[in-house]
Amino acid sequence: MSDTVNITINGQVVHARIGQSVLQAAQSAGIDVPTLCDHPHLRATGSCRVCLVEIEKQRMLQPACTFPVTEGMVVRTETDKVVEARKFSLQMLFSERNHYCMFCASSGTPETSECELQKLAYRYGLDCFQYPPAWQKEWPVDASRKSFTMDHSRCILCRRCIRACDEIAANHTLGVFQRGAKTMICADDSVTFGQSTCVECGTCLQACPTGALMDKRSSFVGHASECRTVRVTCVGCAVACGLKAMVRGNTVLRLDGDWDEHNAGLLCVKGRFESLRRPENRITKPMIRRDGELVEVGWDEAITYTAGKFKEAQSTAGMISPRFTNETMIAMGAFLNEVLHSDQVTLLHGLVPPLDLEPRAQLKDLEDATCIVVVGEDVLQGQKVLGYLTKRAYDRQASVVVVDDHDTAMDDYATERLHLDAMSRHGPSPFAALKFTYHLSLDGISRLRKILETSERPVVMYGPALSTLVYAALRSLPPHVKFLPLATGSNACGAAQYGIEMREVIADALFVMAGDEPSNGFVLPPASFTVVQAVGHSELTKKADVVLPGRLWTEKRGTIVNIEGRERPVVELTEAPEGIGPDWMPLAMMAAVLGRPGLFATMAQVQNSL
């Protein structure tokens, strides 16, 4: 039996797959059917009645988004009857709340409007309120969330946000309260969004068709049509989600999840909102500490001074944040090895588990995995997107096994819980993360093996710092088990490729590339001379002898490697302040002073070729 059917839409013969809706068939044939509540990445519900079409042998107009195709079906999408019904639906939607477009951030001309409701009103020539809007009632605005607001007056109750919360973020915060004209989108048991279980991943914001959910940063500062949209990579963690950045002039206004990337539109609060916070007290000029005070100097002076100190030093070491691109990692390694003849290069933080466990899983494997095992890492705290994907697996009844030494946020979704034991590792370490190794008992290992053997499409996400025995046990699992290494630190996997890992270093002179690390609290090994390259002042720069300015993640260009082992592009979204070159620039300048002027001649070529 063939799995395609032939249907006729507006006189055009369309081949559709069985199981497709009329809307999907029309869209794949390039026939435009207007929609509001429908979203290509969400389950269709048919609640807005805007996609109504005429289908022969059907008594009434039918919603295209939920009506399945059948052989010989004849559909008309823009007859007078259909247009009349659509106009009526739109009028009803406009009368339900106070849709005064001129006060809304999404409002615009037919070309620039970001509101799907307004666009349809333009398209169908709605020039007045046929029914009075609900101005009698004061619909509240809920601004209790940090990064985006909910204006109930602009809500059309399409329930996209609820479906996004349920189906994409698997957080189940949103629901509806009351019914009929009183219906409102609510969180949990009707508390404000800020008090609720909302994790501010912003998936609902991305799905909202009107201005009901409004981003605090990008509202009222310009339309998307006036901005550049750039596809980039989030450097918040090693998942390296795909982003669509809306950039106006030299400012990134808004980040959305890229539906066509491995994260399929999903982002976390870190990637979507927090990554755009501007750094406080940005460093714009090189500085040298003189009599205890940091004094601004020129690049040449700073570099010559630093190079001299490194030349004198008995031993040298480099520390680099895992947020840097592969190119900068290579430069750091080359500078230390070739110029300073030191093999002491370490990550500032970030651990990478062994990457040789095969086959490597991709994020899409998590979407249809029958069993997900999380070993030694709290994915709902660290790599949140992986946590949401795991919760999605839990929702579709896949088994979720959490293996950890302490309580994790994932425990509530664990169908089975195994315990890791902490074992102390080689001696005291300045890095808290290096103090322990974690071990799973032999009983636990055999239990894990049993679960995985009987599962059809299992994925094991494993953290760093497990005992060698646990890794050995994971390596010997059946070949259908896929592995995802939970590296901490955005480009820690890339760094590992170039042999840069977190380890202890002892040196007289220390070159620290902190970059745009958002947090303080790193412990540096004692050294008589410390250079810190950073974006903003922090605890690190307070103790530094020389401070060099660095670039924000939005000003970088290069590549990073994510936990799937894929190389992901980092593209400049904004221009760096004048005088702040690429991250590897100070290294190249120092190499030149120290007698290796040609060392990074090819680096520029590497950069340009990307």
């Binding site: 004061e138 509240p140 048991d189």
Partner: protein
């Protein structure tokens, strides 16, 4: 338009230190209703009835506890509970007097019944008497047009009502509303 973060919940969800959905109630739901339905989620409707039967309304705390017990989101429980008017999210009187306001009943004098009740109880529609004994509401068709006018007192339907008969019904109600049952219904089958 108010740019305020409004807490739409009138009272805090937590109203008691003790769980309102007690272990005994959970056990009852487990034994009686879980076997009847394919999923836990499906038990939400009878469970809401059961909680309302126990507390006379649905305390927010009990809804949260129910969500946890049925392994569904609190928003889903509230979604269901707020959809049906027969679920009370705010406390109501021990006896809920529902006067039918549909056409047949109105033709046969439901407005007189309503006016009498308002006068007698000293309350408006939707209000509860000061002693917490009666709540008065009007409802859509109760499906007994042939015997109009009709009114329901809790779960018991009273047909062909006159003002005097209604007085009689209200005056003879037992102290505990759980003792007030329709003699024509086999409660053994349907009891919570």
């Amino acid at each position: 338009m108010a740019w305020i973060a409004e807490d739409r919940r009138a009272v805090s969800a937590k109203s008691s230190d003790q769980p309102l959905l007690t272990d005994a109630m959970k056990k009852h739901l487990e034994e009686k209703y879980f076997p009847r339905y394919p999923t836990r989620r499906a038990v939400v409707l009878p469970a809401l009835h059961y909680i309302q039967h126990t507390y006379n309304y649905l305390p927010a705390q009990a809804l949260e506890e129910l969500a946890l017990f049925l392994q569904i989101a609190p928003s889903e429980v509230l979604d269901t509970a707020s959809f049906y008017e027969e679920y009370w999210l705010k406390p109501k009187g021990k006896y809920l007097v529902s006067v039918c306001r549909s056409l047949s009943c109105e033709v046969c004098g439901s407005k007189e019944l309503e006016a009498h009740l308002k006068r007698k109880l000293g309350i408006e529609l939707g209000q509860t008497t000061g002693d917490g004994r009666f709540t008065l509401v009007e409802v859509e068709c109760l499906g007994a047009c042939g015997t109009a006018p009709v009114a329901m007192v809790n779960d018991v339907l009273h047909e062909n009502l006159t003002v005097d008969q209604l007085d009689q019904v209200l005056n003879s109600l037992p102290a505990d509303p759980h003792d007030y049952k329709d003699p024509t219904v086999n409660w053994e089958l349907d009891e919570h």
